[in-house]
């Protein structure tokens, strides 16, 4: 009986953890009228140095 209770407890905890992971409670979803910042290769490319 005790083992069964522990097992049920574990399964319940795992289910709750799984539910909390799969909610869609993330992300901002705000669009903005911001013009693109890339000119499509008509100028000089950035010089990528350093880290990472």
């Amino acid at each position: 009986m005790f083992v069964r209770l522990i097992v049920v407890g574990f399964v319940l905890a795992a289910t709750l953890a799984s539910l909390s992971c799969t909610n869609s409670g993330s992300g901002m979803g705000m669009g903005a009228s911001a013009p693109t910042r890339y000119g499509g290769g008509n100028g000089r490319p950035p010089v990528f140095v350093g880290v990472p």
Binding site: S18, C21, G25, G27, G29, A32, S33, R44, F48, P52
Partner: protein, 286 residues
Amino acid sequence: MIRRFLTASSICAACVVATLALGVARGAAAVDPIEPGRFVWYDLMTKDVNASKRFYGALFGWRFEETKRNERPYVIARIASDPVAGLVDVSSMADAGPQWLSFMAVTNVDTTVGLVKAAGGKVLVEPREIASIARAAIVTDPQGAPLGLAQLHRAIPGVVDPQHAVASRFFWQEYLAGDAPKALDFYKRLAGYESTIKETRLGVEYHVLRTATLPRAGLFQLPDASDVLPSWLPYVMVGDPSAVAAKVPALGGTIVLPAAQERRNGSLVVITDPGGALLALQKYPY
């Protein structure tokens, strides 16, 4: 009885593994997950959501969930159960160009927006509540670079820091500056960053912006007449940049900067997606 024991043992073993995994995750997230200056979210502003889903799904294995934010359609990209990015349809917005928008955590978004305005930046979207997740705004900094600001009400799961980079997830960002000294001054005031020059090569200084705990971003000077205007460039970690980049043209994107040995040991590729949004892919560490 034996079967019961085996079942219980299996579940307990699974729980031990899960507990260990959680322990590792907690260890990895010892830093405050909503620390000001940390980049905590990435939204793609796209004029063709379906094309973007096809591209990023094939490139990174992301799967997508249709949802809503403040009554507007919004797509969440996931790896397994972790959210990694959002896709926003901006086809109805005048002047909106396809691009990735990085969100920086701030302590108080209204105060930060005030600071941006005082420094000569503009507000594209005034601070507003986003579900129960954050109070957020979108601004352009004094050099015109768009930036999201998020005063998070709670941590967003799945956000990784550079030292725990995971394949197909964002892990770094760089500010491509029109005026590096002015940008350094601005972002130090905005986010409380400290900076160090990590490397100087070809006459370009690479500045690392740090919060009290970790490096959060890089910053360097764009050349004159660059084909990129001042902007934040987000990085996705990939295991084999050249192999991933090879898929890009067939998927409708372009390779802007191919891998080259002299550039970070061949670990960096810069691409655009089918809409033209710029994105860096890097193997890390390299």
